[in-house]
Each structure stands twice: as structure tokens, then as C-alpha cells.
Symmetry: D3
Subunit: 219 residues, 6 copies
């Protein structure tokens, strides 16, 4: 179960396209759903605030053994983990950051805007990993626009600024940017992590571990 | 404007009692309101999640030059600041922590439960002040119960554990505990900060500063 | 009681001008005094060292319920708090930093010189809040010169460098810079905190709280 | 390819037993090998030092798309990542710590000895995640002995000490302790992470991601 | 030149006894002097504040190529370094902490009192090394009393508490405790660092380096 | 005993030249030896990994009361300290960093390459001193090449970048750069620390302290 926590169909579809190839591994069913009634994207902290309970309501309604909150802001993640403590709950943002810390030494985040940048800084501090974060650089955009192919140059510019700040790995800070991962990696010559692909593959790994244990590792 | 972000009238009344003496200073009007429809208290992260947007809705409805979110979890605080950027928005928890860092060297928090403890740890890390925090100790209670006089012994026990951990100042981690501040201070022999009183006095200071500047300092 | 810990009359007068409007709130008497015999300003660490005991002597001589040490270096602050533990003692620097952490996410400081910059870095580390500090940028000046109107352009340049480093709020790192707050805020388009105004309003808030408690919160 | 970096056959067999159930997912071949000539376990830092190049030699000899270094000390991990930069290289220790930071708020590690404890502290600091680590508690044992069933009581005692220090999740700090995970979880009533199972499932996730990308994410 | 920054002759004599054996190495002259007019010891922050300028005055009066400030609080150290930037200035406290971080992994400090403990915490944070500090434990004493042989049991008790907190090396937090180093080390079974001996030997090393360079390294 | 942990004779000779003047102080014998069979320099983490056990083997073979590992990467340092716990073991890198933290407020490192930079970052984090480190800047070189006089301009450029990042002291991140210390200091106008000279003088200080104690301080 992959939850796009915003109401934009184009974002839900972009996520679904990214998830598609993962469906052929093993016998896991992966559903992607949007969040009708939610804002079209998380631009401001208030968007994340209003979306959090909606994500938790979707999880209460649609039973699954694992949920992915497919928004870099991870709206509702911590409450969901506390409430659904026998399910695997993966936050796109948190998971991408841990992958970046595995694959590189210092990471940077390409963010949509200065408001995203501040949310990301707070998340990084809350995660207790600020010592390996060089910062975020914005591209003055939003989740819907990020599904279009136009943004690559701006992302490359933001990525190069992050490299100048010491990043040896870059995370795209939005769930709609999967299609930019490969060209961005080519242009920047350092690894680029897409939060959606990273989250889906991590969730499959966690589901395998859970079956192995015969129960949730975190129960 | 002091917002009790839960729906418990007894908590709203306790806050109002604590606020009363502050009404005699200067010419500021201080209103206290509850949040009908909200959970009776913030026990879990999901409670804080659901309350955040309600607090922001109250702020949109009731105009004031300063708002106090009278819950230690500061639900909706960051979004509110972003959205109402010409108002003063004080979070009870954040403000009490900064006062503790002014008056003491290492602070600890008396929390309602292990769930509150985890939220407090995350807040402290997010605030970037973990280096001066010795931890939280719970009393297995909730916001409504905390208005009753029965809890003092448990609070003293939690406070002493915090002192053993190195705290030289203690914060009561709930907006309903104001009446315990003085006896707790007497029993622990170190300063105790009540988030409500601290927030109201800080808000008055900020209002005076705002008038002085003729506009919001943070606009 | 506001103590200008240097011997420069022009600085004392500048502080007095800034304090004047605050005198009309409530029934608090606010006196401003200088420190005859002290250096004309805190340029070097040795200046702060020599001034610390002078500030404490002034406090021992002039009884007040609250003292503001009106120098960003907070000379003598920690010793004063230990010694006069039933009084409110506000340090201009420390207090401005906490206000900046309330109103913004990452703060920077406009400093007088590279020597001030190093003192500020040490203070920020000692306060345990380095995770939210982007740094200080100097204007090659001193406390006396900062009372003149000439410095605005240099301060704007320093402020812009701080913004480039990620600051979303800026603190003026000297008690003589109050008159620059408003034009600087206009030029930088982010909030600017003046340590004197911030300290006086915070002290009034703390005095109100102390009256409420009928004794010092930190006793 | 799972590399047991010590020369103890009983440890290699224990790892193989833990890995077995994972072989039925997908079409990945998982081989487990020991390191003849290495010390029987990593008791001291010098053991880890001598084993690092051996692990890297094994990797140069045995081609695989992913390698797991099945020792909590992650000997040779960072050099291996630098050298084999088109392969996935998972360190048991590092990976378990990131899983603990996903599933819990504060983690502790059950270590073999005081020497392991110091290595773990250094690793945690080097990873930049010390803010969420409560510490390690030793059981005065070694990797070979840890394959026997006798140690459970000592592990429970160590785990309880970690809980008292604030841990809400515990990691077993040795690759031979997989069979203790479930009983330990039952006794401690908080989640327990086994580094081997966690690493294998994470490696499968990463292999799926790599196939999806058609090349190494970190190339 | 070793400066005892307090006025107690017995402390000056104790330092001189500790320094004596170092006089036989090389051709360096080592003088020990007290600070007439200073408080008998640094018990409170105000003592350190008043002593700082006195130490700097002594340095201005007595020319030497290296100065040791023989008090764990390092009164006047930072100002002295700024002012006498062609001399070597060693602070007993700072130097002992760096030696502890070289010889051990986590250090603790045996302090005279709760006031010393707070100064030490602030110093450790200001030095930016809090991540390796387990804390300080007091013995309710003062610098003069510490020259007597009575305190060993209390120091052992404090040292054991530091070991329980995770220290593998202990620093005696006062310049009058040199004679306790060896018996304390025997009782605690971990290394104990005496700030005076450590500072003198480090100063000799630094003088040799300075001669080698033909000028101050830090000029 | 100074161990050059690589196999390049020119580096061994450069170290010997730097050590020579220190031989005239006191009665200590200082031998310099290379490491036949080791890589010509530590370019990659795998070089450091392979060299660590060789350094420890040299120490086991050649008895001395103090050893200096004359490579900025400190290969084998931590294992050596654990194993030879009655000897003084100085790591060039670690020791230079502590000297930099004594003489300056924020330090930067001139590194050979991006690979060295990453090792340095990890070392700084592992040492727990990242709060005072502005970063490393590379000169695209290696240990052998660094013995030639050609590199000064590149080092000056790297040094200036570090100053721009806030460094007030710079460390040369390689044991072959001693001859650049003085000209670099002249060009940068801030102190420059050479790890070899710093380590030798510190080792002499520690040997004097050890004789004073009649046994190893850290035994």
C-alpha cells in the first residue's frame, strides 16, 4: 500500500509509474492510492498538518501489512507508527535520508521551496542526523509541477550547489521527481536517491523480514 | 488569546485560573478558549496530529495580536507561525524550554506518559537543544487527571529522578499542572517552570515589543 | 535596571533612547546606567573579562528586581546569576538568541569584528544551540562607532552573507545598534532582532511572572 | 553473498541458518562464507583491523552484486564501498542501527564486551547518530560463545539496563545472536533487531532497487 | 611560568611540589607563582570572573615564553591567548580534557562542588567536546581542602560514579589534587589525569616545538 | 620511534628531516622507520585498512616507550592503543586536531584528495569534535608528490577556502608536508599546524610525564 498523501492525480500516477516495475518481484501486491480532499501538494507546513490525520484515516480504512507515505514531508508518519504498531510504516523522506547516509558520507536535499527547506531541516534535526546534512537547495516549484520534464536544469543547478557545500550524494525532496533521478545522476556525477523507489524497495525488504520473523519486528 | 487545544473544560478552566492574575498587568485582553471536537487531551502523537489543524482554524476565526497554544506538545505551532506570520504565536512547550535554558543549565521534563516523553525528545532534538536536556520522566497520567491535586507525589518522584540525571531546573510537561508549580518547587528545592504562566508572561513581553516596533518583529 | 557595561556615554544614551518607549507599559521603573572605569566597549575578550566583575559590583550596589546586561557579550552574566539568585538577570546576547530561535529556524549574527565573531561562536556552543546558528559576519567596527548612522550599508552586506549561509533571521550583535533594526529589516526582508529591545520586553515579561509567583521563579 | 568475517565455523553455520528462510524469496542466490585465517571473532580492535583487508580480498575474489559483512563491527566496510563502488555493500552494524532508528526513537546495543562497547560508541559517533543512542551494555562474551543458548539471561539483563537508560529498541551487537532475537523480544517487551536478518532483508530490497534502476544506485 | 590563580599559599606550594620533578628535563626554567589579592580558590563563577583579569595582569608583568594557568576553571585563558598571541598559554582544564580524549574514549571529571560541575559542563560544551563527556561528580570540597590527604575516599566514590556513567578515564577537576592521582588510579583501575602534571609536560612539548619553528606556532 | 606507515622512502626521509631538530632536546632517542611492503601512501581507505595491521606488527617488533604513527589517517591507531596499553601511542592526525583546537577556534584541514577529505570527516566525527571543524579542502595530490616543493600554490588556495569557511587555524593533512608549514603560514596569515612536528613535540611531553609518574599515565 503506497499512499500519495495529496489529492493530485498526476502525482498519484507518477508514483504508480515508478512503483510498477517493483510489482514483478515476489508475491507482494502493491496498491497506490491518492488522498481525495487533501491539498494538491505539501507546499506549507499547514498542508502537512492537515494531511497527517487524513493519511492515518486511509491507513485505518485500507488494511495492509506495510504502508508507504509517499511524500517527502512524511505527514502523519510518527502518529501512524504509534497507532498501527503491528504494521510496517515507511516514510519516503526518512527512508531516503537513511539510504543516503548508507551510500554516501554527506547528503544534500533538492527541495521544492524555502518552506520545504525549513521542514527538511527540522526533520533532519529531529532525526538526529544533522551532522551529515549539508543543507537543502530549492527549485521554486511544487509537487504537481515536479511531474513535468521542465525542471531538470533547475534541479541540476540546485544539485551542484549541494555538491559545493560538500554533498557526495543528493536526495530529491519530493515524491514526484522519480523520473529525474537518472538524468540528474548523469549530470551531477554523484548518486541521486529517489524517495519513492527507495521506499518501495525498502518496504519489500521489511515485508520479507516480517514474514521471516512471523510477526512484525517492531511489535 | 490563549488556546487550550483540547476539548476538556476542566483543563480550559485550569488554564483560565492560571491566566487570571496576568490580566491585571497593562491593557492587554487575554481570552482563554477550548477546542470543541478535539480529543480530551494530547495523549498520543495522533491526538497532536488531529489537533494541529483545529488550532490553526481557531486562529483563523478569532483574530488576536498574539496566540498561545496552551499544550506542551505545541500542536500546530510551526504551521501557525508560517501562516499567521504577522501575529505572535507562542508554544507553551517551546517557550518553557527556552526559559529553562535561561534560568538553569540542564533541564528535565516531567511528562504525562512514555508517549509524551517520546514527543518531548523529538521536540528537543528538533529545537536543536538536546545538549542541555537530561530527559523526561513520566507520571502515567493524562491532561484531565493532571488538574486534580492527587499527582504531586508522583511528580516529586519524577522530578527527583531528573535531578539525579543532572537537571538543575525542571519543566512540568503539561498545561494543566500550573497549580503544582509552587509545591513542587518547595519539594524539589530547584526551580520549576510552569509552561502556561511562562507563556503568558512571555506573550505580554512580546506584545510590548511589537507595539514598540509598530509592527510584528518577525514580519 | 539596565546596565550598559561599558564606559561610553554615547552608548548609554543610545540604550536609553531605545528603552524610553518601554517605560510607558505597566508600573515598572527602568533605569539605565553606564559603567565608569570600564573600557569604552567590548572589543576583545579581555574587555569582557575586566568588565564582568564591574557589572557584578554595580548589581551589588544598585538593588533592583531585574537586571539587563546591555552588551551582546553578556559580561559577568553567569556569575551574576549564581550570586544574585533571587533577581532576574537577562543577558542581551543570550536572550536575543533565544528570541531568534523562537521566531526563525536558523539565525545569524552581525558582529562588530572577528574577535566578536569568535566570542559569539563560543557563546553559541556554550549555550548548546550551535545546530541552529549559521555563523557571524563582521562589519569591522566597535560599540561607539555603531551608534552612528554610517554603518547601515556594511550591516546590510553582512546580513546578506548570513542569508546566503541559510539564516532566516538575523540578530544585531551589539547593544548600540537598535536604531538600525528597522531599516535593516526593510533591506534584508527577513526579521532582525535588536538585543536591547528584546531584552527589555523579556525582562518586563519576567517581572510580571515573578509578581504572579510572589517570588523569583528561579529561586 | 554474506561474508562471515571470522574463521569460526560455528558462527558461519549460525549465520547460514538465519539466512536460509530468506532464500525462498525471489530469485536471488545467497551464499554464506567464512574467512579462513581470520581470528575466531572480533574481540579487539586489532581483530577488526586485521580482518578488514581479508574481507576486501574475499570480495575481490568472489563476484556478487551485493555483499553483507556479517559482523557488527563492519570490518573493512568503508574501504570496500570505496573500492567496489558498483556493488551493494551492507554492513551488519550500520544497517541494524538505521533500522533501529526507523522503528524506535532511542536505541541501545547489547555488546559482547567493554571492547565491543567502545568500538560501538566510535561507530555511532562516526555515523553521526549519537543523539539517538543510549549506550551499549556488555555480556562478557565472544562471537563463538554467543552461538550457544546459555547467554539469554545475561542478554535480558543487559537489555533491561538499556531500557532504564531510555532505549525503546535494542540491537544485538553480534552476528551470532540471531536465535536470541525472539526470546529476547518476549522478555524485554520492546523490539529487538538482529543484525543478520536485518541486513539480508535490506540487501534484497537494495538488489530489487538496483535491478529497477538497471545499475547501481550509488555508482 | 606556572600561575596559580588563587591566593592560597598551600595550593601554590602543592603545585610547586608537583612541578619540581619536571625541572630536571631540558633547560627550561619553570617558575610557580600565586596571585595575591585573589580569592583563596575558585568556588563560584564570580571567583573565576574576578581572577581572570588578575591572571592577565600577572602575564603582562612577568615575561615568559609559556604560561600555565593552574586552575581547572582556566580563568582568563581565552582573553590571555588573544592578548599574548606570541606566547604559549596552556589552560589546565582544557589541556587535561584533550589528554583524556587522547588516552580514553569517554571522560568524566571529579569536581569540587555543584558549582564547579556547572562550570565544567559549560566549558565542555564551549570546547565542542560534549559528545565524549559523561559528566562531573562533586566531592563537596574546595581548592584549599583538596591539598589535604583526607579526600581520597570521596574522590574514589565520585570516580566510581563516573565509571558507572561510562567513563573509561577520569580527570581530577582541580589543580590541588596532584597527590591523589596515583592512589586514585590504583583504586579506580582506570587512568586518572592530573591537570597540573599534564599541563607542565604539554607546555614543555610546546616550547620544544616553538624553538623548532623559531617562532610561536600560533603567531 | 616514529613510524612512517607507508613504503615511500622519500616520505620517510622527509619525516626524518622534520624530526632531526627535536633530537637535540633531552635524552630521548628518536628513530624513524618506514613500512616496507605497505602502499606508497594512504590514498584510499583500503590503503589505511591494509596498513593498520602492518603498523601494529612494527610496534610489536620494535620496542619503544612511545610510538608516533606518522600518517594523518592514523592507520592502526585505535587497535595499537588497545594492544600496547603501556606505551604512548600518538596519532599524527588526532594530535594535530587537538593542537588546532587549543590554538584556534575553528580549524580546517588541507587534504590530499576527496578520498582523504572523507576519511578526515569521519575521523573528526568519530573524535566527537565536528562542532569546531569547518571542513577539508583537497589539492588533488598524494603523499609522495607532497614532498616536492611544487604544491605550495595549491595549498594556499585550499587554505584560503578554509579561511572563507571560517577557519582561524589550518592543519596540513599529510605527514609529508612539514616543509610547507612556514611558507603557508606566511601566505595565509593564520597559524598552520604540521602534524609531524606537533606529534613529536607532544610525544616528548608525554614521555616526560610518563617518567614523572614512573609508569604510563594511561596504563
Amino acid at each position: 500500500m503506497v499512499i500519495n498523501p495529496n489529492s493530485s492525480d498526476c502525482v498519484t500516477e507518477a508514483i504508480d509509474r515508478e512503483v510498477e516495475p517493483f510489482r514483478r518481484y515476489g508475491d507482494f501486491t502493491i496498491d497506490v492510492c491518492g488522498t481525495p480532499g487533501a491539498p494538491p501538494g505539501v507546499s506549507y507546513q499547514t498542508d502537512a498538518d492537515v494531511i497527517g490525520p487524513m493519511v492515518q484515516a486511509t491507513m485505518a480504512r485500507e488494511k495492509a501489512s506495510a504502508y508507504i507515505i509517499a511524500c517527502f514531508s512524511d505527514p502523519g508518519l510518527l502518529g501512524a507508527r504509534e497507532k498501527f504498531d503491528d504494521a510496517i510504516v515507511i516514510g519516503c523522506g526518512e527512508n531516503a535520508i537513511f539510504q543516503a547516509m548508507t551510500d554516501g558520507d554527506q547528503f544534500g536535499i533538492i527541495s521544492l521551496s524555502i518552506f520545504s527547506t525549513r521542514r527538511q531541516r527540522r526533520k533532519v534535526r529531529m532525526m538526529g542526523v544533522a551532522g551529515r546534512y549539508v543543507g537543502s537547495r530549492g527549485i521554486d516549484s511544487n509537487a504537481v509541477e515536479a511531474t513535468s520534464p521542465e525542471l531538470l536544469d533547475r534541479m541540476v543547478r540546485a544539485g551542484r550547489e549541494l555538491v559545493d557545500l560538500g554533498a557526495d550524494i543528493v536526495v530529491t525532496g519530493c515524491a514526484s521527481m522519480s523520473h529525474f533521478r537518472e538524468p540528474l545522476e548523469d549530470r551531477l556525477s554523484i548518486p541521486v536517491i529517489d524517495p519513492v523507489g527507495s521506499a518501495v524497495s525498502a518496504a519489500i525488504g521489511r515485508c520479507i523480514l516480517k514474514r521471516r520473523h512471523g510477526r512484525a519486528s517492531a511489535s
